[in-house]
């Protein structure tokens, strides 16, 4: 006899999937209504806030004041691991960090949602810029765009002009430090 209890039904529905689906639909609606470029602006705004918050969490736990590129690369990989990504370090040098990724924290829900990649760009850019004063994030390949993996380069040296697909980040920590600390959650 077939079990008719709703609780016994095998459904792809749980908290994590629900939240990822929610983000996918929100970003999709945003891209449809205001266009991809403007939607990226909104996601960037959220990414910037999230990047600042994540950076503060790490700063509270480990010393990032004198962090070098290697330590920052490890922080970026670690934070992605903690939220369900599968990033790894491809290369680290004085002027760049190159990271690869096999799984997006948003899972399959990121497909055709390029605006969500601005979350990664802003979080990486914010953390690195707040430590080194500058970052330029280049999303060379993304799962969202159908590459099957991500390849992200974080440039550490300023360039006069940024290329398409790159985004510059500047340190605002002096202004942030001047403000009252954010209340604890």
């Amino acid at each position: 006899m077939t079990d008719t209890r709703p609780a016994a039904a095998e459904l792809p529905l749980e908290g994590d999937i629900f939240m990822r689906r929610l983000l996918r639909e929100l970003s999709g609606l945003l891209e449809d209504v205001v266009g991809t470029e403007s939607a990226e602006g909104y996601i960037s705004g959220v990414g910037s806030i999230m990047g600042r918050w994540i950076g503060e969490q790490y700063r509270g736990a480990i010393d990032l004041e004198c962090a070098d590129a290697r330590l920052l690369a490890e922080v970026l990989v670690d934070l992605k691991r903690r939220i369900g990504g599968e990033f790894h370090i491809i290369a680290v040098s004085e002027d760049r960090i190159v990271l690869g990724n096999a799984r997006c924290p948003f899972g399959d829900m990121v497909q055709d949602r390029p605006s969500l990649c601005m979350m990664t760009s802003n979080v990486f850019g914010r953390i690195v810029a707040d430590s080194l004063g500058y970052a330029r994030v280049e999303l060379q390949e993304t799962i969202a765009a159908g590459h099957g993996r991500c390849r992200v380069v974080v440039h550490l040296e300023p360039r006069r002009e940024s290329a398409p697909g790159e985004m510059e980040y500047f340190s605002t920590r002096s202004a942030a430090d001047a403000r009252e600390p954010e209340p604890a959650e």
Binding site: S48, M118, P158, T172, A175, R179, P183
Partner: protein, 354 residues
Amino acid sequence: MKADVLSQVFDSLPSPMMIVRLDGGIERLNAAAASLLDLGLDAHLPNLLELCRSLDRGATNVLERCAGSAGWQPLSVELTRGGHAGLRVAMTGRGLVDAENRTLRVLLLADRSDNVHFEEHRRLIRLLNSELAEQQRLREQLDEALNRERQLHEELVHRMKNNLSMLSVIIRSRKAASRDPNVNQALSDIEGRIRSIALVHEMLDGTRGLEVVEASDLLGKLCATMRDSVAPPNVEVTWDLEPSRLHITDATPLCLLVNELVTNAMKHGFPQGGPGRVTIGLRRLCGALELRVTDDGAGMTSDAGQGTGSRIVEALAMQMDAELSRETGPGVHWRLLFKPADPDGGRRSVGDAA
């Protein structure tokens, strides 16, 4: 390209644009932004945080957020000062690094379409203000014309009252000079009619240009005057009048009518000189007014009602669009039912008076 050319480009851009420090200090703004914020280009530039609300939500400073990246980020502010106070403006902002001293600034750009809405809003407000001023001017003109008309009206009523008084004096002097009783009677009748009209104008003269009188006051004065001047000692004149506002359109014929009916009662009702009574009553009746003039005299003969007084009574009733009826024996009972004109407009309502 030279810096001054770039500066001209910045200043002439149609979209409001400004460069702001992270503490909100405005370093530079173009003409469109100055117009949006209602600021003079040469004036001291206040802090943007004093001009806008919603720039800082909680501990996450929006200017700081925008400054942290070269990507354009949306923000929304509500203007708190100037001609557009209260309006919300959609903007985008991005960080800008001064190449020389590595100082971080925020470049803010207001939504062009919003700016168009502002201009339309400003145009409509200007139009509305202009129309309000025109309406105010017209109203003042109308008030002035109305005052002038009221003054003229007051003057007219006053002069009319004086002229009627003068006419009464002339008639009285002629009456005193005449020895013919028929002439005396005719002059007395005319004097009574003039007195009735004069009474209305006397009351209007005290109302500062209004065209409405209190019916009970008006008829009360008329009845008292007639009691003192027309009624013989053997006839008692009494009245019972309900208060009611009366437009001049009705007041004058009603006074004349009461004058005629009471005069007729005095003239024909008590030929033997015995005691008698004339009663005048006025009351409201379902939106209409009912006038009753009753005497307990000898009543009317069949050929009565052909005289000048009766014809005047009928003409006046017709003028008032009133229903007039008479019952005789014993005494005479007159009843006049009419729908009074609107005291505020003077127009008589069309329809059933009852």
